[in-house]
Amino acid sequence: MKTNINYKNIYYPPGGILLWIIIFLELITFGIALIAMVYYGKEEPNIFHNSRLMLNTTYGMVNTIFLLTSGFFMANAINELKVEAIQKSKKYLLITILFAFLFLGLKGIEYTGKINEGLVMGYNTFFTFYWSLTLFHVIHVLVGLVILISVYFGLNKPKTTIEDVEASAAFWHMCDLIWLLLFPVIYLIF
């Protein structure tokens, strides 16, 4: 699959201009929410500090590694697609999907632990932010996963273009970008 798109053109960023508008809207939404969280953390420093210590930093770190690895294989899947190596691209896409499932599995374990401990949404301000932000992010990951699975099965179809796959990849990487901001603020700095 080759492309003739000139990415240096302002109207054609890799993934498409519409997706980049969505990416910026999402980043701005999460950015404002994180700034609000830090603001409330300043109001209730002890509650935020003690609540942060109730989170498992290792889970957060491993989940970051899962998402980054998933993004790495997604980028490689695109590179292979550009040189028409469709089977290799599918293999990398499958690994991308596998790491997405690992992320969701670990998130599920983390959520189950928090619910069993009674640390649910509304427990305090910190956990209200924790649940709102991470759940909203998980919804994005689920949507991204559905897109990746549909791309995987659509790769052999002649009507699938490199632009379609690049747009899907851009959405998937957006999940990475959001998590890279959520991880330090929620798990590390309070």
Binding site: Y7, K8, N9, I10, P13, P14, G15, W20, F24, L27, I28, G31, L34, I35, V38, Y39, G41, K42, T57, T58, G60, M61, T64, I65, L68, T69, G71, F72, M74, A75, N76, I78, N79, A169, A170, H173, D176, L177, L180, L181, F183, P184, V185, Y187, L188, I189
Partner: protein, 78 residues
Amino acid sequence: MRSVSIITWIVLLFLTIVSAMFSSVQEKYIIPIIMTLAAFKFIGVAFQFMELKRAHFFWKSFIFIYLVIVITLILAIK
């Protein structure tokens, strides 16, 4: 696999582990370090994995300005 992608991936994993380790240090100066590491990771994913390095200057500057504003506000409020 491109060697640039592999190097970027290894650096991103390394920075993730380092920032998680820093979180156990209870010093005020650690927060700017953690957020700076997060900013580097953000740039790494955006420019290498999303190939923003090949995009028009507008998109590169937009994401860079976004990152600077968010990180600066977080550090200023914290």
